[in-house]
């Protein structure tokens, strides 16, 4: 085993840190909290300009260590990379399944950081049960196009995105995993509306509605009715590589508060901090292992699920412990006098809460480990 980074990777890390220091200022972060939109255009555009989004794109021929390093550094720094993650994912999908025309028309905008894409996947009744979606794409025989009707939930960035990557049912007769089609559609297309969904995390998500949205075949991603294959590729990009590094900034912020308040001398607190440091290391090692399995072509197996469940649950526990430990000051939000770690402690509790749900619930991931890694009977 080897736990070192190559010189190229160290240089990428240095570049990331330089860009974040320059573009992700306290004011920029404040603005994301004020608006509820977890996006910092200057940061993502700088990544695009430096060619880093292109390096962070997943898929064959790409270096998965680059992909991990970029999202991990952003997470450790506390820089909002969600938009970058979605853009590089879809660029990766287009690289594999898109047309040359799409790669000319859409990919450069995504990888420059200037154009954003949101995901139209989950639906109000759906949740973990993705194949249950009801959004319909009907072939319009008169003009060789499609008419789409339906509603999507949790369309994060939907209100600022240029594109939506949309999953729809195109052939209801084709069984549980058949008859899906994936599209990439301009958000400006008539018939698409966006309603805000406000969350406890103060982040804005959206419900999006599709009423007789008419699109042509240039919006198809992959073959018609083969959308489940596209989803497989995209979900494999997602699983276990992002959102496993949150313990590091949490611990840094907590240590900052503990130092200022003198709590860092309390053995009960030190005991727990050491435990969190171990959990942060474990989360990172499990994630690096996932990266390595992708690099060797062995992945993705269940390694991503293992890392995801562990890291998100550890983050949640840690945030709740940190808040309790900080007492009343841990309840105060950003900019309130005396707020523990300037309000980050309260924020982390709220922010960590959906991490065990989005991108695959802990339950679904545990099912996955039991079924695929252990070969135990599938009980759904």
């Amino acid at each position: 085993m080897d736990f070192s980074l190559s010189d190229e990777h160290l240089e990428l890390r240095r570049q990331m840190r330089e860009i974040m220091t320059a573009t992700v200022t306290a004011e920029v972060i404040d603005e994301t909290h004020r608006s509820g939109t977890n996006h910092a255009p200057g940061f993502i555009e700088a990544l695009g300009d430096a060619g880093i989004l292109a390096r962070a794109m997943p898929g064959p021929g790409q270096d998965p260590v680059d992909m991990w390093l970029v999202s991990s550094e952003a997470e450790k720094f506390g820089a909002p990379f969600d938009a970058g993650g979605m853009a590089t994912s879809i660029a990766g999908v287009l690289a594999q399944l898109g047309t040359d025309e799409q790669r000319r028309r859409i990919t450069p905008g995504l990888l420059s950081g200037r154009e954003l894409v949101c995901f139209g996947l989950t639906e109000p009744d759906g949740g973990s049960d993705l194949p249950r979606i009801k959004t319909r794409a009907v072939r319009n025989e008169t003009d060789d196009g499609w008419i789409i009707n339906g509603a999507k939930m949790w369309t994060t960035m939907g209100h600022v995105a240029d594109w939506v990557f949309l999953l729809a049912r195109s052939d209801a007769s084709a069984g549980r995993y058949g008859g899906f089609t994936t599209f990439i559609i301009p958000m400006s297309t008539p018939g698409i509306t966006v309603d805000p969904v406000w969350t406890m995390g103060t982040e804005r998500s959206n419900a999006t509605f599709y009423d007789d949205v008419r699109v042509g075949d240039e919006c198809l991603v992959g073959e018609a009715h083969e959308g489940w294959r596209t989803m497989g590729i995209m979900l494999a990009f997602e699983r276990g590589l992002g959102n496993t590094g949150a313990l590091t900034p949490l611990l840094r912020r907590f240590a900052q508060w503990a130092t200022e308040s003198g709590t860092i001398d309390d053995p009960l607190v030190r005991d727990h901090m050491a435990q969190l440091a171990i959990e942060a290391q474990v989360a990172e090692l499990l994630t690096q292992r996932t990266v390595w399995t992708i690099a060797t072509g062995e992945g993705p197996g269940t390694e991503g699920s293992v890392a995801k469940v562990y890291a998100t649950e550890a983050y949640q526990r840690a945030a709740r412990w940190a808040q309790a430990t900080a007492g009343a000051d841990g309840l105060l939000r950003f900019h309130e006098a005396g707020a523990a770690a300037d309000g980050w402690i309260d924020y982390d509790v709220r922010h960590s809460t959906p991490q065990t749900l989005q991108g695959g619930t802990s339950e679904i991931n545990r099912n996955n480990i039991a079924e695929r890694q252990f070969g135990l009977p599938r009980m759904r």
Binding site: T199, M200, L331, L357
Partner: protein, 359 residues
């Protein structure tokens, strides 16, 4: 006298009264509308309508003569409704300082949980944003300070009307030595425990309703064993906290305070009010945290959305408990009552009492 785990007729009628009042006057829309301050003057006025603010005082003092055993029932109903009124704090404060305007509820009273700092500041008093009277420790005295409330709270996790208050500016009355405040703190722990039991109970009810309805993979999610087993832990947490709060009330009502109570760790027998109040507070904090965590989680993304009620309870589970400070500190304080360090006088006013027993 014998073991009895049912509510007394008095408790039953108080429970019914408050539950039906809150069901009518405090649906969760009222809770939402009261945010971010976390206080509904209208609901407070309605509570005055049936003399709730003074109920914890003896009839002779113009109060309702309710026992602690009754007040824990009230506090649980308040928690279950996430009621945006500082009745727990007011009940505690009123018993320490039964001024007519406090008994009537025309003035809202609260307590500061920690002694004033060097500059005379009571940091983040519960209900400090809306209370006209704050009682707490300043130096070696227990004092009550009348002053206009700020009317705003710093933005906080629970949308609770917490605020810093001065122990010196305003109309200041000395109520007694600092030790006179001990009982109030124990009562606050006990009633807050009950309120948190109410929060946890609501989380169970809301969670059960959701998992019975929500389908995934063609089954209600409540049919999955992982969810069933997660929920199956709730009753022990909730009932344990509830019984501890009731036992603390029973101990208080029966004068089992300090040396008049029993703390016998060899036999595991504890009937001392302050120790039980501390235990109830800790157990209820844990119950509310765990039950709201899991219930929210079982909601999927919806639990996180502001539209659903579970997030209201999730945030109060933390806000109402954490205001006292790190629970580990509270456990150390409890440990000092249960196993007093050599030579210590242990605990806050209560401490060690009769200890029979084997080595």
């Amino acid at each position: 006298m014998a073991l009895e785990f049912g509510l007394s007729p008095d408790q039953e009628s108080i429970s019914d009264l408050f539950s039906s009042f809150l069901a009518k006057e405090c649906p969760t829309e009222v809770v939402r509308e009261a945010e971010p301050l976390g206080h509904s003057p209208m609901l407070w006025t309605a509570l005055q309508g049936f003399d709730a603010p003074g109920m914890g005082l003896p009839v002779e003092a113009g109060g309702g003569g309710a026992a602690l055993a009754d007040l824990v029932v009230v506090a649980e109903a308040l928690g279950r409704a996430a009621a945006p009124v500082p009745l727990v704090e007011h009940l505690v404060a009123s018993r320490l300082h039964p001024e007519a305007a406090i008994v009537s509820g025309d003035l809202i009273a609260t307590i500061a949980l920690h002694p004033a700092d060097g500059s005379g500041l009571w940091r983040l008093a519960p209900a400090g944003a809306v209370a006209n009277v704050v009682i707490g420790i300043d130096g070696d005295e227990t004092v009550a300070v009348h002053a206009a409330p700020p009317g705003v709270a710093p933005a906080n996790h629970a949308c609770a009307p917490i605020a810093d208050r001065s122990a010196r500016l305003g109309d200041r009355v000395v109520l007694g030595p600092a030790s006179a405040f001990d009982r109030a703190l124990a009562e606050w722990r006990m009633l807050t425990a009950s309120a948190l039991v109410g929060v946890a109970t609501a989380a169970l009810d809301i969670g059960l309703a959701y998992v019975r309805e929500r389908e995934q993979f063609g089954r209600t999610i409540g049919s999955y064993q992982a969810i069933q087993h997660g929920l199956a832990d709730f009753p022990a947490l909730i009932d344990g906290a509830r019984f501890l709060a009731h036992k603390a009330a029973w101990a208080g009502d029966n004068g089992r305070v300090g040396a008049a109570g029993v703390i016998d760790m060899d036999e595991g027998e504890i009937t001392e009010h302050c120790a039980l109040a501390s235990m109830a507070f800790l157990q209820a904090g844990e119950a509310a945290a765990v039950c709201t965590d899991r219930s929210l989680h079982y909601h999927g993304g919806y639990g996180f959305s502001k539209e659903y009620d579970i997030q209201l309870y999730f945030r109060r589970a933390r806000g109402w408990a954490n205001i006292l400070g790190d629970p580990a500190r509270e456990r150390l304080r409890l440990a000092d009552m249960l196993w007093p360090p050599p030579g210590s006088t242990a605990g806050v006013g209560a401490g060690r009492a009769i200890t029979a027993g084997r080595a």
